[in-house]
């Protein structure tokens, strides 16, 4: 099962290596990893999507917490969260297929950010299922290139 962990880590070079190294040597299965700044200049925020059962995830959390550079780890999986991902997707188009593709883009509320004679690039944000769904829908036309950020997530407010 996929779990989403949010970790606050120190904002230093080498921190990413430590976390990645930990995952590699213990063979934890990373589905995606996204890192960004926070309002605190000393801290970065990592959103890690890990595949594993409850016991494995418990171990992942505890091992991450052990790292001196990790300040806290929260498992967002069971919580009420807003999660999003951004994707840039280049799709092959011809004069026959362009209109259909543009319709699909519209349905998914994506935006065309680049146009070529035989391709167009779409920017799409949404939860992971929506991105997956769009890719499935446009794959038959020809997926030329794709870049995804990986999931980021934030807890919904209680009040």
């Amino acid at each position: 099962m996929l779990h989403t962990l949010a970790a606050l880590v120190e904002n230093h070079p080498g921190v990413l290596t430590r976390v990645a190294g930990l995952f590699a040597r213990r063979a934890y299965n990373i589905d995606s990893l996204s890192v960004c700044q926070t309002d605190d200049p000393e801290l970065s925020r990592m959103t890690i999507v890990v595949n594993g059962d409850d016991q494995v995830i418990e171990q992942v959390r505890n091992q991450l917490n052990k790292l001196v550079i990790v300040h806290s780890v929260t498992d967002l999986t069971a919580e009420s969260v807003v999660d999003r991902e951004l994707a840039l997707i280049r799709i092959q188009v011809s004069s026959e297929t362009r209109a259909e593709v543009l319709q699909t883009v519209d349905i998914f509320r994506g935006r065309v950010v680049d146009m070529g004679r035989t391709n167009l690039t779409v920017e799409l944000t949404g939860d992971v299922e929506k991105i997956d769904g769009f890719i499935k829908a446009v794959r038959p036309y020809g997926l030329l290139e794709m870049v995804r950020t990986g999931k980021i997530a934030i807890l919904r407010s209680e009040t």
Binding site: V9, E10, G14, T17, R18, G21, L22, R25, E42, Q55, E58, Q59, N62, Q63, N65, K66, L67, V68, I69, V70, H71, S72
Partner: protein, 563 residues
């Protein structure tokens, strides 16, 4: 009048040595090199004592031995490139056994970092998985803070090695040091355990019929031997130890069943398997104890696990009452809370345990020259403050089974990593740490040769280590496994070409005595103990002596051979 009056500029090297002194360091083990020239120059003006070993592996194992017998943070120093990479085995060894070390390595000048320069190695990258934390110092002003943090991290919580990589220009630059304000927001040290859980544990203890306390290195680290003894005696609880826990109770204590696991005592293994309550303290359910079969370990028991490291709890076995905290503090509270409960009814359980102990005693020949006999004799002739250091192999297991260790921090062995070669330099470090206590090194001909160059350090520093070399001419433990499980197909376990070890010792200026008959054992050991300096006692033993009992690979610990 200058605005900077009173503010002093120092070199990074001088700042480092001052910072070490502030941490109470009066001794470091090291080996110089090009990038460390600024530091070695500054050392000449420092009161810190430097012990020069003969290989960086010796340097780090010595610091490790020093730390194990004192509980202090061991400090070692090596140069960049090959000097640093030679430390890797020793750092891994300390990491696996949770030993507090601060490892200082020289590094090429900052402008050359990442350019494959002479004697450059990315030691912080290489040691990332085997250090508790590490630092690459880019600015000498940071040194006071980094040193203070490093010592704090190494020596608190679950101890471990911390590396500080020091580029040559950082050591040479002249700066005004910044204050040592540590900033470790991501690090907490567990102390007292959760009182509710401790109360739950006390209740479970009072209600059980067949308890076992399973203790290891964590009990030694936290100094919990005293309270463990009180608890065991008060509630009549049997105790089994891991290899790392030996010494937490004196050898002859009536509640001690012995070592548990692959080469453990039969009574200990049966007790764990049959118990209805397992109080695990400062242990990690390692595969040498569980045989890698966590789901078959203590299956009838309610498991209480007390450990300072949350990540160890529920890692291997299902845990009913997890308690994160310092072993000594938690046991002290447990002991107090237990006052409010009746003691467990364990008379029948003890009858069973005694029956197992009587039916399956540790057996070995005492009428010929066996390794066990030698070790037994050593124990009879030496005092209770004797430290026993071992290398790795059959001799290590015999030492664990037979030597009567009296106190915590008197038994030093490479447990988690099982590093051959650890013994001689660790014995060196132990003797320097406690110069008034006797040090025995028990080693084999395989292990002894791996760091044999440290005989020079021992001789030069006149360290009166008594080296007991159990020479059987083979790589014993591996050979035994080939004997039992590979149809006696001995592949590469004959140590052909062994030198005359007595001659080697004498070449280093160390007294050497060879024993090849049973009658000479006692007198040889006595003579060695009387000799005022280091001595090598070489015992020619048979290659066919086996470590028993032994749990075959993949079998649960109840299925022992030769028990």
């Amino acid at each position: 009048m200058s605005m900077n009056e009173g503010k002093k500029e120092l070199t990074g090297a001088a700042i480092l040595l001052e910072a070490l002194q502030k941490e109470g360091v009066d001794l470091i083990f090291g080996y110089p090199g090009g990038v460390l020239l600024p530091l070695y120059d500054a050392l000449l003006d420092s009161p810190i004592r430097h012990i020069l070993a003969r290989h960086e592996q010796g340097v780090v194992h010595a610091a490790d031995g020093y730390a194990r017998v004192t509980g202090k943070v061991g400090v070692c120093l090596a140069t960049s490139g090959p000097g640093a990479t030679n430390l890797v085995t020793g750092i891994t060894n300390a990491y696996m056994d949770s030993i507090p070390l601060v490892v200082l390595t020289g590094q090429v000048v900052t402008s050359l970092l990442g350019t494959d320069s002479f004697q450059e190695a990315d030691i912080t990258g290489i040691t990332m998985p085997i250090t508790k934390h590490s630092y690459l110092v880019k600015d000498a002003r940071e040194i006071p803070r980094i040193v203070k943090e490093a010592f704090y991290l190494a020596g608190t919580g679950r101890p471990g090695p911390v590396l500080i990589d020091l580029p040559k220009d950082v050591l040479a630059m002249k700066v005004e040091p910044s204050p040592a304000d540590i900033n470790l927001r991501g690090y907490q040290v567990p102390g007292q355990g959760d009182s509710a859980k401790i109360a739950e544990a006390a209740k479970a203890l009072s209600e059980c019929r067949k308890p076992v306390i399973y203790v290891g290195g964590g009990v030694i680290t936290s100094g919990a031997g005293g309270v463990l003894r009180q608890l065991a005696e008060k509630a009549s609880l049997p105790v089994v130890t891991t290899l790392m826990g030996i010494g937490c109770l004196p050898y002859e204590h009536p509640n001690l069943l012995g070592m548990v696991g692959l080469h453990g005592a039969v009574a200990a293994n049966y007790a764990v398997d049959d118990c209805d309550l397992l109080l695990a303290v400062g242990v990690r359910f390692d595969d040498r104890v569980t045989s890698g079969l966590g789901h078959l370990f203590a299956t009838k028991a309610k498991i209480i696990h007390i450990d300072i490291d949350l990540a160890e709890i529920a890692k291997v076995v299902r845990t009913h009452i997890p308690i994160v905290g310092d072993a000594r503090l938690v046991l002290e509270e447990l002991l107090t809370v237990l006052e409010g409960f009746t003691a467990p009814q364990v008379a029948d359980w003890w009858d069973q345990l005694h029956a197992w102990q009587n039916y399956y005693p540790m057996r070995y020949d005492k009428d010929r020259l066996t390794p066990q006999l030698v070790i037994e004799c050593m124990g009879e002739l030496a005092g209770k403050d004797t430290m026993v250091i071992t290398d790795v192999g059959q001799h290590q297991m015999w030492a664990a089974q037979v030597y009567p260790v009296a106190k915590s921090r008197n038994f030093v062995t490479s447990g988690g990593l099982g590093t051959m070669g650890f013994g001689l330099p660790a014995a060196m470090g132990a003797q320097i740490a406690r110069p008034n206590d006797l040090v025995f090194l028990i080693t084999g001909d395989g292990s002894f040769q791996m760091c044999i160059q440290e005989l020079a350090t021992i001789a030069y520093n006149k360290l009166p280590v008594k080296i007991v070399l159990l020479n059987n001419g083979v790589l014993g433990m591996v050979r035994q496994l080939q004997k039992f499980f590979y149809g006696e197909r001995y592949s590469q376990t004959d140590l052909d070409g062994n030198p005359d070890f007595v001659k080697v010792a004498e070449a280093y200026g160390i007294r050497g005595i060879r024993v090849d008959s049973y009658e000479q054992v006692r007198s040889a050991i006595s003579e060695g103990l009387k000799h005022p300096g280091p001595v090598l006692l070489e015992f020619m033993v048979s290659r066919d002596d086996d470590v028993l009992p032994i749990v075959p690979p993949g079998k649960p610990i109840t299925e022992m051979l030769g028990g």
